[in-house]
Every structure is written in C-alpha cells, then in structure tokens.
Symmetry: none
Subunit: 243 residues, 2 copies
C-alpha cells in the first residue's frame, strides 16, 4: 500500500461516487481516504459501490475543511477537468502519478478531487502545488468522479511499477523453438506441401517465404513445435495409407 | 472519434455499468458500443449513468453472440482480471492501448469485457488474439466494469495522443483476416485434423486452443489466410484422390 499518498474528496454529492472511489483506490494499492463535507455519508449506496473495499470506507477520515484534510502534506495535486484560465502549473494524469510516487518517498502527498459539478473552487486550487488534468475529448471532457479517481490511482500504481516489472509479451515459461528446429520444421512443411501438390517443387521460394514470415512472427514454442511437426507427420501417414 | 475501435460488453449484469462504460468511452473519443446478451437493456439506470453520453447508448448494437459483435474485426483484445492458468498472450493495459491504436489504422479492433463476476469464458477467450490485464493489487484485483472500460479507453486515448509507431513486425499494407474469417479457418483446420486422425473428434478443445493461440499471435493477413485455406483444401483433395 502507498502509505504516504491520500485521496481527498471535497463536497462530494453522490455517495455512490465515494464508494466507487474507495474501490478504485484499493484496486491500485491506495487506502487512505479523506472526505471533506460529504453530502451523504455514511451511506448504504457508498458501501454497496465500494464492494470489497469497505475497509477503505470504514477508515475514511471525515473533515470540515480542506486544510484539515491536507495536514502534513508536502505535495498537493488538485484534479481539474477544465483547463482553467488561472495560469497554474498543469500536469497530465501520467505526469501527476509519477510526481506523486516520486515525492511520496519523502513527504505526504494528497490527490484532491472537487465536487461532481463545480470541481474545485479557486480558493481550493490555491492550496494545490499543481493542477492535474486527465486528457479527454474536449466535446465531452467531464469524467465521472469515481472514474477520475480510478484513472489517477491507476497512474500512481503504473508509476510505481515502471522500471520494476519488465514488459511481458505473450508466452511465459515455455521455451521457444530454436532456429535449427524452425529450419527442420520449414523443410518438413515444404516437403508436405509438395506432396499434397500445393507447392511447385521447382519454384518454392515465394510461398515458403510467406510461411516463414507467418510463423516467424509467432515465436513458436517447444510444445507448439511438437504439435506442428505432429500434424505434418499425420498428413504424410494418411497419404501413405491411402496410396 | 476512433471509428475503427469498438467496445464489446458480454453478459453484463448491471445496467449502471453499461451507462458508465458509455460515458467513459465518450470521454476518451470512443463511441462504438456492442452489447452481447445484456441482462437489462435498455434501462433507465444505464441512461442515468451515461450522463451526457446517451448518444453512445442510443447507437449501441445489441447482439445474441460474441461472434456477431466481432464481425469484421482483425484484432480482438479480451480483458482479463485474473492471470489465467491458460497461457495466452498477455498485455498490460498500456501495451493493449498502443496495440489497439496501431492496428486500428488498418483493421477493426474490438476491446471485449466479460461479465462482472465471471469475466470471459474460455470459449470467449478463444476468440481473442490477446488478453489484456489491468495491473492491480493482487489482494483486491477486480476493478468495477465501468472503471475497467475507463482505464482501457484512457490508455487508447493516451496511445493516440503520444503519437505511436505501429508495433506490427513484418506485414505492411496487407489487410488482416477478420475474426469471422479466422473462425472459418479454425473450423476448416479442425475438420482436416480429424480427417488425418491427428485430432480426437470427441476431445478437440485443448489442441484447438493451442492452435488459436499460435495463429492468434500472428496477425494473419488476407493473403496468408488464402494460403492457409489453400493448404487445408489441398490436403483434403489429396486424401480424397487416394481413397
């Protein structure tokens, strides 16, 4: 869990959004929730939407003012749906996630989300070191509050994860077929394609190149290689039986 | 708008999630929604949660089967909360967003989300070229469906915004085989594998899943599909001649 990063929801109207925020936080290793003047709280709807994250709700701190919720924070990031006229340092969600994780190593960090309709007031934005904006369709830019918390929490988790976990592409565990095994497969394939009269033995190049390209992209593993060779042998056996 | 990328929701239980998905999509420039066997739809709750994205809901296509919803798609990405035992090619959400945007330049792409509780069935995963996983707290890894759509849609938008180069190795220009063409190929392959006595007709599942995995990774193009179907037909012809 990110013990130095808190989520602060200000003047939230719909308790369902509080529950959704708790769930999205816990999904992404965040569990410190502050609620400033929630309109309805506690609420059965919040608990229902929190699903298995009711522990995050139960531990939520309810405050009268934003300043109370920000006590001890060295970095405050305020979410803003609109691109404000106010010339304020602006980060996108990815940059915001990276900054939050970097700073959380040495200080408490707050991610602050305003009311569903009005967002954060200018006075509240004054408390923030940066505004964070989730890039979106300018014709329809207002994310649901729970969805915005989910995206920010996701970017925090991704920032932490980056450089730690290597990129995984596709198969795990299974050893890939070696270059020489692939060569023997292509020889076998070519032989069978000639036997079934699909390939002109005097001019095999073009088709075999297409086959190499196709299977070369697949990163065929050992198990799959055994299956492919088995299929070729089964074709030969069947043809042999019939002749 | 991403005119070549569709979101497919399968067996959705809660109409609120359909509305949330529509809103999250429109926020991120996605507007093509397919609903396979929604439990309650249309629904006032879906419309309420869609907020200003009711146009996306109104244009949603309701289907009886996943195959119908995937018609014409050259790339199918299936969301998976669990890390399956089934070793299927796995991308994280960021990689998935990049691949979707890259491929959408030349083919239709589907982002497929399963039921809230059960996810996608193994038969539905068979239709997918890749699984996409949103990295999360392993102690609480199941995102709300609407939140998962929001995160994927966000990564699609970010991939587009960052201006990405296509990641496809090899093919250029050639149109990919569509999901329905791939299904016909797998049917043909299964028939031939039974005819050559390589596949037990009473228990085809395991082997055919391996074949789907192998060819699913390859992004088979139209030209290659013609060759593969031609090979299968040539095997059948040869067997027929000899019998």
């Amino acid at each position: 869990m990110f013990s130095n990063i808190r989520v602060v929801l200000v003047d939230t109207s719909h308790p369902g959004n509080i529950g959704a925020a708790a769930r999205g936080m816990k999904n992404m290793f965040l569990d410190r929730l502050y609620l400033v003047r929630p309109k309805h709280y506690p609420s059965a709807e919040a608990t229902a939407r929190a699903s298995g994250a009711d522990d995050v709700l139960a531990a939520a701190v309810v405050c009268e003012t934003l300043d109370q919720a920000l006590t001890g924070c060295g970095l405050v990031l305020g979410m803003s749906a609109r691109l404000r006229k106010l010339p304020w340092p602006l980060l996108d969600a990815r940059e915001g996630g990276k900054l939050a994780v970097a700073e959380s190593a040495c200080t408490e960090v707050a991610l602050v989300f305003g009311n569903e309709h009005a967002g954060l007031s200018n006075e509240e934005l004054d408390r923030c070191n940066y505004l964070v904006h989730i890039p979106a369709n300018p014709a329809y830019s207002s994310l649901n509050l729970g969805a915005a918390v989910q995206v920010l929490a996701y970017e925090v988790m991704m920032a932490e994860r980056e450089g730690i976990e290597p990129v995984r592409d596709g198969q795990e565990g299974e050893k890939l077929a070696s270059a020489d095994e692939m060569e023997r497969f292509y020889e076998h394939l070519q032989r069978v394609l000639v036997e079934i009269a699909f390939l002109d033995p005097d001019n095999p190049r073009h088709l075999m190149r297409r086959m190499r390209r196709l299977f070369g992209r697949s990163h065929v593993d050992q198990n799959e290689m055994n299956i492919l060779r088995g299929i070729l042998t089964a074709v030969e056996t069947k043809i042999g039986q019939k002749s």
